[in-house]
């Protein structure tokens, strides 16, 4: 009997499961958490004091009738036997598998990191960590806020920039920007991995009062002394700091092990998104090694491609990104696809309105992806990097 198994109720898993259910497929969705978190919301909680309830919903409210929701933690996958094992010993078989388990945040890769997150929170580790960050930011009257990363590979490439912009704006409103320095320490050669984007972001950071260090990859953190040391041999003092943890693939046992890359991400065909060597298993979103940014947008678009393929269409994923860089009242997007590097996208108020619309549509777009598909398709076609290669 046909049974499509979806692992993980993040953006990709929910879009895939709900779309499949809308087409009448029997779907089982396995998720360990009771609550879904809109991950970019952590930035707004941590640096603007938003209420976490705006960005969290019970998973069971986000699945449509027709999706069987199983509460449990995936421990292992056997691709040869088409078997998924949960931590509590339950097993599930499938005819088609969609792996959407996200990335694992590796705090142990960086000495002092766990202590830092316990003390100050951050904007990657969950809604309560973000609330903790906010409680410290609102009390910060002088010194330096450092936003940094432990590795150049992390989800949402402009997240540290957004953090710095939003924090600077909050401090400015409090009349403290100046007595508090916002310092963005990036593990890249320029202010953004893509030089084209860096040329747009750098002047904006300067205008908004954000100091920047490049080629600063966090090596270790001394919480008591308030110092962050970089792999490149530099150090930064901080009064408050948030460091993006190193990322790796989901912490599960996968047979055969060859389908995992050296960081534990699942190797896929970057266009078809099937697990290397398997036609009946797919990996989408952060858990795959597809050479594009790890973001909700790529997870959403990947889920649509996989559902199309299950339905018999020869859809291909094009690696499209649409990572918003939100600043004070304006926004830009990092727009690229396979074979097309990011294009120059200016900060405008109109793009900020678009981003606010995307955020407002989030819960509905997870549950009813087919209603939003024509709207998103029009947007993505109009802003295809080949169409706007000269800039937008």
């Amino acid at each position: 009997m046909e049974r499509i198994l979806v692992l993980g109720a993040g953006t990709g898993g929910l879009v895939a499961a709900n779309l499949l259910a809308s087409h009448g497929y029997p779907v089982t969705l396995i998720e360990k958490r009771e609550t879904h978190l809109f991950q970019p919301g952590m930035l707004w909680i941590a640096f603007q004091g938003h209420n976490p309830s705006r960005y969290t919903r019970p998973v069971k409210e986000l699945v449509r009738p027709g999706v069987e929701l199983v509460h449990g933690e995936v421990a292992g996958i056997d691709l040869g036997d088409r078997l998924v094992r949960l931590a509590d010993g339950r097993t599930f078989t499938y005819t088609t598998l969609i792996i959407a388990l996200g990335a694992h945040l590796d705090y142990d890769a960086t000495p002092g990191h766990r202590e830092l997150v316990e003390r100050y929170g951050d904007f990657y580790s969950g809604a309560s960590a973000a609330e903790k960050m906010w409680s410290h930011l609102r009390e910060l009257t002088s010194g330096r806020l450092v936003i940094a990363a432990a590795d150049p590979l992390y989800k949402c490439p402009p997240a540290p920039h957004k953090a710095a912009f939003l924090a600077a704006y909050t401090l400015k409103r409090m009349g403290r920007l100046g007595s508090v320095e916002v310092h963005l320490a990036l593990p890249f050669l320029h202010e953004y991995p893509s030089e084209v984007v860096a040329r747009i972001v750098a002047p904006k950071l300067e205008d908004d009062g954000v100091r920047v260090s490049t080629l600063f990859t966090v090596e270790s953190i001394d919480v008591r002394e308030g110092k962050i040391y970089s792999l490149e041999g530099e150090e930064l003092d901080f009064s408050l700091a948030a460091v993006i943890p190193a990322h790796r693939g989901p912490m599960i046992r996968v047979e055969p092990g060859e389908v995992l890359d050296e960081d534990g991400f699942i190797k896929v065909d970057k266009y078809r998104l099937n697990v290397e060597g398997y036609d009946d298993a797919y990996a989408i979103g952060d858990s795959s090694n597809a050479p594009t940014s790890k973001t909700g947008v790529t997870a959403h678009l990947g889920a649509e491609v996989v559902v199309d393929r299950i339905m018999g269409y020869d859809s291909r994923f094009n690696g499209r990104t649409n990572c918003p860089i939100v600043a004070d009242g304006t926004a830009s997007f990092v727009i690229s696809s396979y074979g097309h590097p990011p294009v120059p996208v200016k900060f405008t108020r109109f793009k900020r309105m678009l981003e606010d619309l995307f955020i407002a549509s989030y819960w509905s777009s997870l549950k009813y992806p087919e209603r939003w598909a024509p709207i998103f398709r029009a947007y993505f076609n109009a802003t295809d990097p080949r169409v706007i290669s000269g800039g937008w």
């Binding site: 080629l215 041999g233 590097p341």
Partner: protein, 78 residues
Amino acid sequence: MSERITVDARGMACPGPITKLVRAYRKASPGALIEVLATDPGFKPDVEAWAKRTGNEIVELAEENGVIRAVIRVTGKK
């Protein structure tokens, strides 16, 4: 013989090769050699800028049949 690490970043677009280099650098001991193979044309200026900024020595930087080969000696680590 000093430790030698090879990083194959062929086929990866910017900033993939530099990301892989940074990760290899994290694991490398002082004096080790890191060899990076890349096809992204942006890698050449990037690796030169990286080495200059981080105080590491480029022992070899050559391009052959579209493949850039950079060999770096880890001199920037104490």
